[in-house]
C-alpha cells in the first residue's frame, strides 16, 4: 500500500514551500490515508496512450448529431 506517513507529507510540504504547523503532517496523513489506500487498491494499469484529454474523446461521443 502507498506510504502516507507524516514524514512523507512533511517532505512534500517542504518541496511545495508551504509551511505546516508541527501537528499537521500527522493529521493530514490520517485524513488522506483512506483515499490513497482506496485509489492504490484499484491497481490501475492504464494504456500508455491514455492522457487526460481521453476523457473529452469519450464524453463527446455522446453528443447527438
Amino acid at each position: 500500500m502507498p506510504d502516507v506517513d507524516p514524514d512523507r507529507i512533511r517532505m512534500m510540504a517542504e518541496a511545495a514551500r508551504v509551511p505546516l504547523r508541527a501537528d499537521a503532517p500527522a493529521r493530514i496523513a490520517r485524513a488522506v490515508a483512506p483515499t490513497v489506500t482506496r485509489f492504490g487498491a484499484e491497481k490501475l494499469a492504464l494504456a500508455l496512450e491514455t492522457e487526460p484529454s481521453t476523457f473529452a474523446v469519450v464524453q463527446r461521443r455522446e453528443i447527438e448529431p
Binding site: 502507498p2 502516507v4 512523507r8 507529507i9 512534500m12 510540504a13 511545495a16 514551500r17 508551504v18 509551511p19 505546516l20 499537521a24 493529521r27 493530514i28 496523513a29 485524513a31 488522506v32 483515499t35 490513497v36 482506496r38 485509489f39 487498491a41 484499484e42 490501475l44 492504464l46 491514455t50 492522457e51 487526460p52 484529454s53 481521453t54 476523457f55 473529452a56 474523446v57 469519450v58 464524453q59 463527446r60 455522446e62 453528443i63 447527438e64
Partner: protein, 477 residues
C-alpha cells in the same frame, strides 16, 4: 401564466422565474414592483438565514426602473427582461467585489464579468446582490466562520448544504427566483437537496466557467438553483454553449429548448444497486420508492444497474480536487495561511499529500472510467439516486467542534456527489418529499454526457406529477 401565477402577482416574490419574466413582459407586473417585493422579503429573512453577503438595493431599483422604461419603449432585452437575480459570490462582475466567501479575498474587485452572468444579463436580468458561499467553495455544509454560517430556511439550526449555500437558501425562501451556483463536488446539488429547491449540475463543458472563481479546473461546473426544472431550463437556455474564454466549452452544443421543454418520452431509468442505496435513512429510501412509482406512472421503464465500484471513482475525484485546489491556493498558503478558516485550511493542506503520479493517474483514468460507466449503464437514459443519505443535519453536528462524529457526517453528506463530478455527467436534483422532521429530501437524476435537456424534460414531468417543489418555508418569529 397559470392560475397560480396570476394570483401570485399579489405577492410577486412568490412567482417563479418564468412567471415573473412573463408577467413583466405582459405588463402585469413592473420590474420595480418585483424588485421591491424581493427586497422586502430579503429584509425579513436575511437576519434569520444569512443568505446574502451584499444587498444592492439602490442600484437594483435603479436598474429595475431602467428595465421598465425600456419596456415602455417596446425595447425587450431578452427572455429574462426585468428580473433581478443574485448569484454565489464567486461570479465576477467587472468593478464589483467578489469575496469568494473568504477573508483572503476581502475587498478584491473583479476586473471582468463572468460569461455566465454576462449571458444572463444579456437575457435581461440584473443584479440584486451577492450570495453567501462556503469559503472558496470548498465545503459541503454552508459553514463559514468568516461570514457567519448560512442557515436553512426550513430550520435555521440546520445546514443549507454547500458550497452554494446562499443560492440554496435564497431560492428556497423566495428571496430570488433563481441563482447561479457552482458544483465541483456537489455544491449545487447538496443545497438543492437540503433546502428543497431544484438544482442542475450540467455536463462538464456545457457552460463556460470563464471569470468564475476556480476550485478544481477538471471538475468545476456552473449551473442554476431555481424553483423548478422549468426555471433551470430558462437559465440554461441563457448560459449554455461555447465560449472562447473557456476552452473546455469548445464544441459544446447549444441548448435545445425543444427537447428540454418537450415530453421526456418513455425513458429507461436505472436504479443502482449497492453504493447509492445501501445505508439510506428511511425517509430517503421512502422518497426514492415513491419517486420510482411516479416515474413508472409517467411511462418510464425502470431497471436495476450495476455500476463500477463508485468508491474508487470517488477516491479519484477527491485526489483531483484536492491537488488542483491546493495548487491554486499555494501562493496564499505560503504567505497567509492564518487567513483561512480552520476547515478549509485543513482541506487545502490535505492536497499536499498526494504525489504527482497519483494525481496524474487519477486524471488519466477519467476517460476510461467514463467509458466503463457508459458500458455498465448500456442504453439506460437516466440513473436515479439519492442526493444524500439523510435530510439536513444540524449546524452543530457538522462543525469542527461537533465531536467525533462530525467528520464522518460530513463525509457521508458528500458520498453520492463526487462520482458525478469525476465522470462529468449532468445531474438534476429535484425535491422528492420531506423527512419525518419536515426537512426537504431531494433525489438526483443523473444523465448521459450532453443529454442535459432530457434530464430537464424528465424533471418537468416529475414535478408536474408530484408538486414537491412548490412547498415554501414559513418565516418563524
Amino acid at each position: 401564466m397559470n392560475e397560480r401565477a396570476v394570483s401570485a402577482t399579489t405577492d410577486p416574490a412568490m412567482l417563479t422565474l418564468g412567471e415573473a419574466a412573463a408577467a413583466i413582459r405582459d405588463r402585469k407586473l413592473s420590474s420595480v414592483e418585483l424588485t421591491a417585493a424581493l427586497l422586502e422579503r430579503i429584509k425579513a429573512w436575511q437576519p434569520k438565514i444569512n443568505a446574502f453577503v451584499r444587498i444592492e438595493a439602490d442600484s437594483a431599483l435603479e436598474l429595475a426602473r431602467a428595465c421598465d422604461a425600456a419596456l415602455a419603449r417596446g425595447d425587450i432585452k431578452g427572455p429574462l427582461h426585468g428580473v433581478p437575480l443574485a448569484h454565489k459570490d464567486m461570479y465576477y462582475s467587472a468593478g464589483k467585489p467578489a469575496g469568494c466567501g473568504s477573508k483572503v479575498r476581502e475587498g478584491w474587485i473583479a476586473p471582468a464579468t463572468s460569461t455566465a452572468v454576462a449571458r444572463l444579463e444579456a437575457a435581461g436580468s440584473f443584479r440584486l446582490g451577492a450570495l453567501h458561499m462556503a469559503e472558496f467553495a470548498y465545503g459541503p455544509t454552508g459553514h463559514n466562520p468568516y461570514l457567519g454560517h448560512a442557515r436553512n430556511p426550513w430550520d435555521s439550526e440546520r445546514i443549507t448544504g454547500g458550497s452554494s449555500s446562499g443560492s440554496g437558501a435564497a431560492v428556497a425562501a423566495r428571496l430570488v427566483p433563481a441563482a447561479l451556483g457552482s458544483d465541483t463536488g456537489g455544491s449545487i446539488r447538496l443545497p438543492a437537496h437540503f433546502c428543497g429547491v431544484t438544482g442542475f449540475k450540467p455536463t462538464y463543458g456545457r457552460v463556460s466557467r470563464a471569470n468564475a472563481m476556480p476550485l478544481s479546473f477538471t471538475l468545476d461546473t456552473v449551473g442554476p438553483l431555481a424553483r423548478s426544472a422549468d426555471d433551470c431550463a430558462l437559465v440554461m437556455q441563457a448560459i449554455a454553449g461555447p465560449d472562447p474564454l473557456d476552452p473546455t466549452s469548445t464544441g459544446a452544443p447549444a441548448w435545445n429548448g425543444d427537447v428540454a421543454g418537450g415530453s421526456p418520452g418513455a425513458l429507461k431509468i436505472g436504479v443502482p444497486t449497492g453504493f447509492y442505496v445501501d445505508d439510506l435513512e428511511a425517509d430517503v429510501a421512502n422518497a426514492l420508492d415513491a419517486a420510482l412509482t411516479t416515474l413508472r406512472s409517467l411511462g418510464a421503464h425502470i431497471v436495476k444497474v450495476d455500476l463500477p465500484d463508485q468508491t474508487a471513482v470517488a477516491a479519484a475525484a477527491l485526489i483531483v480536487l484536492a491537488v488542483e485546489a491546493t495548487a491554486a491556493h499555494a501562493p496564499w498558503l505560503r504567505e497567509r495561511a492564518d487567513d483561512y478558516g480552520m476547515q478549509v485550511r485543513a482541506r487545502l493542506e490535505n492536497g499536499l499529500a498526494y504525489s504527482a503520479v497519483e494525481y496524474l493517474e487519477a486524471l488519466r483514468w477519467r476517460g476510461p472510467a467514463l467509458a466503463a460507466h457508459l458500458e455498465a449503464i448500456g442504453d439506460v437514459d437516466v440513473i436515479i439516486a439519492p442526493a444524500s443519505r439523510a435530510a439536513a443535519p444540524t449546524i452543530a453536528e457538522t462543525d469542527m467542534g461537533g465531536g467525533p462524529n462530525a467528520e464522518a457526517t460530513i463525509v457521508a453528506i458528500t458520498r453520492f456527489m463526487r462520482p458525478v463530478n469525476y465522470l462529468g455527467v449532468p445531474s438534476l436534483v429535484v425535491p422528492a418529499g420531506r423527512s419525518q422532521g419536515g426537512m426537504p429530501i431531494g433525489l438526483q437524476l443523473v444523465g448521459r454526457p450532453f443529454r442535459d435537456e432530457r434530464l430537464i424534460a424528465l424533471g418537468r414531468a416529475f414535478q408536474a406529477a408530484t408538486g414537491h417543489h412548490l412547498a415554501v418555508p414559513v418565516l418563524s418569529s
